[in-house]
Symmetry: none
Subunit: 670 residues, 2 copies
DNA sequence: GGGAATATTCCC
DNA sequence: GGGAATATTCCC
């Protein structure tokens, strides 16, 4: 019996009914709303212009052709009866002084305060009239107890009865409403969890890719890193245009005060070194390739990192303040001077120059776990690669460098991570909501809260998971950004370590002319550009001229590379999304249309500072070299701090304590 | 109105309604009597032999075929409910001691004292049950009549008044609470939106990373791509162990029919070329580096891609089947023979070797938008790089190749792109969740839906964006994975194009022995493995042996590399998360502790297979090599599927009618 | 089998 | 517009 009943009845259930108190919105209201919305019915039933009422144009046709599709009958009267049951009222025709033929002008206009176009969520507020004079239990009790009253009181009482009914109805409505909300919240939580999971996955993949890139860069650094001899033209014949660049020597000033100021004078001591920039004294330093690490734990070996190749360029005695002295070169390792090229002497960097070495950068790195790793590789490869012209290497490296994510997350209010901050204030409310009955100081007693308002299926587990997910996913997000930033820094540093200017290298694609993706390899392009490198400029800084797309157009690069020698053999464009289309100032958002309008797109702080003049005379290595990265990662790291308390606060009792939530919890314990 | 009512209702009313006090006999009883009498229904409902009860033989068929003709429904349960309402009772089966299959023997027998064959006049005696415990008017009347009571009763009345007030206050409190809840729900929405934004950003970053990798690979392809002459040992001194590998020559057959069949015989024509593999005839083909593109649109130039450098090695006449002939070398370009190294002659690649060229692989690429790009680079670089020993190159490439995600993209049902596929059906459900109140027929009127439950500040925009974000973020996730996969394939192909075996290269890290991250460079490791490369093997197909951690230990690699020549100069470990700690079977989750407990941590398949013995004779290559990861991603892919329908189920009050509701509607119209 | 809410019909 | 009975559905 019951089985058959179930089997037969289930197909009848269009909308899954909530366990408690049936459906929140009666079927009639839902159907009515659908019906009015349905463009197919527009001829017979439709919204008023204002959307606050609806018309039935030809009730006979409407009954015949529409009603049956939604209801079990085709009686317009029954339809109207239902409308009345739900409190709809008919709006009389305004100017209808003259009676026309019913069929012609006849149309019905019904309205209800909570029946509006585009607002189906209001439907739950529409109350169906209860069976007349049917008091609920409590009311009945009340009434019975009130039985013995004076006539006057009885009168007032009877008046009260009506109020009681409305009160009961109101309570019922509220309960339904709350059931709805609870269900929705659960769904949202589930959705959120999926999202976080997705974010986790993405983070993992990102991390893997990052590792791959890091290793590739390490490798390339080992291959090209120490190659500093630009005088290969005599060995490998190169056309003049290419030779120009290296001849000019590479010296570039990166002078964004906030992001770190680094001066590289790769060829200091070389005769034609132009010193009009006022180089500060001090040893030339070779940047180090940092390896972004998410779980890195600093080990002694991290800082020792013997580098036999770099050992070929012994650090000056005054160096080694932060790190132990580099071990001397292994005797079995061939020295760079074994370079087969005739210009090996010039290829060897200035003896005064110090090899790769960690600077203040490392010590002040926001990511303390990150440790420098000196690059090293088979010297034979070095020798071999030394045959490349510097221009070639420069171009190659630029292609590797400026395709990286240029997001400088220097400001907590910037970029997407900052959005989390905005969510924070509501945390208390959210907390209340999730755990309304739990006092604010009650951090250990889990209770169902609102979510388990009606049915209490395991709210705690949901809570816990959710919270853990949330907090840690934010962490993951922060890690990703930090890693990307670190990668950015790494490549820039790396390229600078080669005596090249990453900014200059990307001049064609990210320079002052965002619309020209091609590389400029004319000699005068080698001039020192005081502007901060594009990778340090936030992409959103469109207000300034230099805010170009930092994404490097590798194809254009190749074209220019190949085209310089063979203009007719342009490298094909393979249609990469970022290559041709995104040379504008935009960089972060490939899908602008997707941006939620509700979330304000925050202005990045350096957008205001972008125009700041470079600090003159500060050319040498600055301890702030890595600051852009550290700031970024710091900000990213702050995300959990700022956002997580919100989540954890609300987060209910069972919320797993995240690192970020710790402080707030302690605060509570005060 | 009344006219229409009558007109429309009449066909439903078999028996004319009596004017006075409604019908004497309720419609149900009349219909029931007719139904049982109707010989057309004899097969499904009929009188008992005695005529004092009736049978329903097959209630399912009965409901389907009979009920609808008499009632407004087809629910047997409703029918039974009515019977019960009129006092019918079910007669238990007499001889049914044994429970048989319900459908078989199942029949229902109902009886009522006043329901007999041939005696419809008794029907008026059947009383429908009144509304239970419904103190209708009388109760209220009772109360009113009781009004005149004693003061004590009045007291109780005043007490009631207080209760009413408290009720009102309680309601007010509830309402405030609800406002809070709504606000918090909005916050959750905002949080969700941030999540989506975060996902978008991650996607962007990922894309940029991907671009970086692509460019690096392009570059490397340009550098190494045409290197086909392994006889560099005499130029660059190499230890014997390294020299062994290249001498064995590399030839690999990629034989996944779905991805395209490509044969590489990199050194065809070289004297010591071992041909025991039975190379298929045909021109030597060099794989091409595909450039993963998310928005790529294949352009004609993609396939033309003239390569002046490759032009230095003119393709054989039988080439150029897929791509136009390479332009001849530009006269201004230095030829490789200008190489300064003494072994320049040997450094020049084998003249018979053909340059990079698109193969079937490209045409059958899973990513249709991806277009082939011939790699090109300065032949001087080629020449220079040719001085590297093949072993060196092999090691280098392996470090580049096997740190990537090994997810093969060949099968739509595998990996994460399949997520999307699998997720597609649930998109509607998710839609419902986000916008449950929007009726299915309402395609043009946006409404707030659940999310804008209480306050309706611009719900439409939120909604819209949310949806866009949601769907597109999922898409983005797919793109990312596809790109990673493509990258993977690209690298493998690329490496194969160099005549190297990517799988073999990664034997140490991803081979049958997951616990040994070190490279195996013994000579016998160079044997040709006929098995398809991992990237072309569907991950889900193999329940077989070796799944290992695909993550390559670059540091170990470097150590082994450097150590081979100079054991005392081990490359420092920089503590990368994946370098030392992750050589175990885990691959996807660098932060196990971060995993939400609610989301079941799927056991990666290879965790169960880890101990499986390696397939004998299959040393480097196992079809299951890539399985470990795809399974994991597949599990991740299932998340949406599993959770999203749930979203809609709970979908709440304003839930739009689901597809399931449609049929019921039509059925209703019968 | 029955309570209870909604749906439909009939009637005023 | 609404009272009231019956009809249908959903749930326990």
């Amino acid at each position: 019996m019951a089985t058959g009943q179930v089997a037969l009845a289930r197909h009848r259930t269009p909308v899954p009914v909530q366990k408690s108190s049936r459906q929140v919105v009666p079927a009639f209201l839902q159907k009515l709303h659908e019906m009015v919305n349905d463009p197919n019915n527009h001829e017979l039933i439709r919204w008023s212009e204002a959307g606050d009422s609806f018309y039935v144009l030809d009730h006979e046709r409407f009954a015949r052709e529409v009603l049956g599709r939604w209801f079990k009958h085709q009686n317009f009267a029954s339809f109207v009866r239902q409308l009345n049951m739900y409190g709809f009222h008919k709006i009389p025709h305004l100017q209808q002084g003259v009676l026309r033929s019913d069929t012609d002008t006849e149309f019905w206009n019904f309205a209800h305060a909570n029946f509006h176009r585009g607002q189906p969520d209001l439907l739950c507020l529409i109350q169906r009239k209860k069976q007349s004079a049917q008091p609920g239990d409590e009311v009945v009790m009340d009434l019975r107890e009130t039985n013995s009253a004076t006539p006057a009181q009885a009168n007032s009482f009877s008046g009260q009865v009506v109020d009681i009914h409305s009160i009961v109805n109101g309570i019922a409505a509220i309960k339904r409403h709350q059931s709805t909300i609870s269900a929705e919240l659960n769904e949202l939580k589930r959705s959120n969890q999926l999202l976080w999971q997705d974010a986790m996955d993405a983070r993992t993949k990102h991390q893997k890719q990052q590792d791959t890139i890091n290793r590739i860069v390490k490798f390339l650094a080992g291959v090209f890193g120490n190659r500093a001899n630009p005088h290969k033209e005599d060995v490998v014949e190169s056309n003049p245009s290419r030779a120009v660049v290296p001849r000019r020597k590479s010296r570039f000033l990166i002078e964004d005060g906030r992001t770190g100021k680094v001066t590289f004078d790769n060829e200091k001591g070389v005769p034609d070194n132009d010193s009009e920039m006022g180089d500060p004294p001090g040893p030339t330093q070779y940047p180090i390739i940092e390896t972004p690490q998410s779980i890195a734990s600093p080990t002694p070996s991290d800082r020792i990192s013997p580098d036999p190749f770099l050992g070929a360029y012994p650090p000056p005695p005054h160096e080694a303040s932060h790190i132990p002295q580099q071990p001397t070169q292994s005797p079995s390792l061939p020295t760079p001077t074994t370079d087969a090229t005739p210009s090996s002497a010039q290829a060897t960097p200035n003896p005064k120059a110090t090899p790769f070495q960690p600077t203040d950068i490392i010590g002040r790195s926001v990511t303390p776990n990150r440790s420098p790793v000196n690059m090293e590789f088979d010297p034979r490869i070095q020798v071999v690669l030394n045959q490349l012209t510097p221009a070639q290497i420069q171009q190659l490296l630029s292609s590797l460098s400026h395709t990286l994510d240029p997001i400088p997350t220097t400001d907590p209010s910037s970029s997407s991570s900052s959005q989390l901050t905005q969510y924070t204030p509501s945390s208390d409310l959210f907390n209340q909501f999730i755990n309304p009955s739990s006092p604010r100081h009650d951090t250990h007693v889990p209770d169902g809260g609102l979510l388990s308002f009606d049915d209490h299926h395991d709210p705690m587990n949901l809570q816990e998971n959710n919270m853990g997910n949330v907090s840690k996913s934010w962490k993951a997000t922060a890690d990703i950004e930090r890693d990307v930033n670190a990668m950015n820094t790494d490549l820039d540093t790396f390229i600078r370590g080669l005596g090249l200017d990453p900014q200059h290298l990307a001049a064609g694609s990210a320079g002052s002319s965002p619309s020209s993706p091609s590389l400029h390899l004319e000699p005068d392009d080698t001039h020192v550009d005081p502007q901060p490198p594009p990778s340090l400029v936030h992409p959103d800084t469109s207000s300034s001229s230099s805010g170009g797309d930092p994404i490097f157009d590798f194809d254009s690069f190749l074209n220019s590379f190949a085209g310089s020698g063979h203009p007719d053999t342009a490298f094909p464009t393979d249609g990469e999304p970022f290559s041709a289309a995104n040379h504008g100032p935009i960089a972060l958002d490939p899908h602008p249309a997707l941006h939620p309008p509700a979330v304000a797109q925050p202005l990045l702080p350096h957008q205001h500072q972008q125009g700041a003049p470079p600090i003159p005379g500060v050319r040498g290595v600055s301890p702030a070299t890595a600051k852009r990265k550290s700031d970024a990662s710091e900000l990213a790291a702050q995300l959990p701090l700022q956002a997580m308390p919100a989540l954890t606060d609300t987060g209910t009792a069972t919320a797993t304590p995240t690192a970020a939530s710790k402080p707030s919890k302690r605060r509570r314990n005060k």
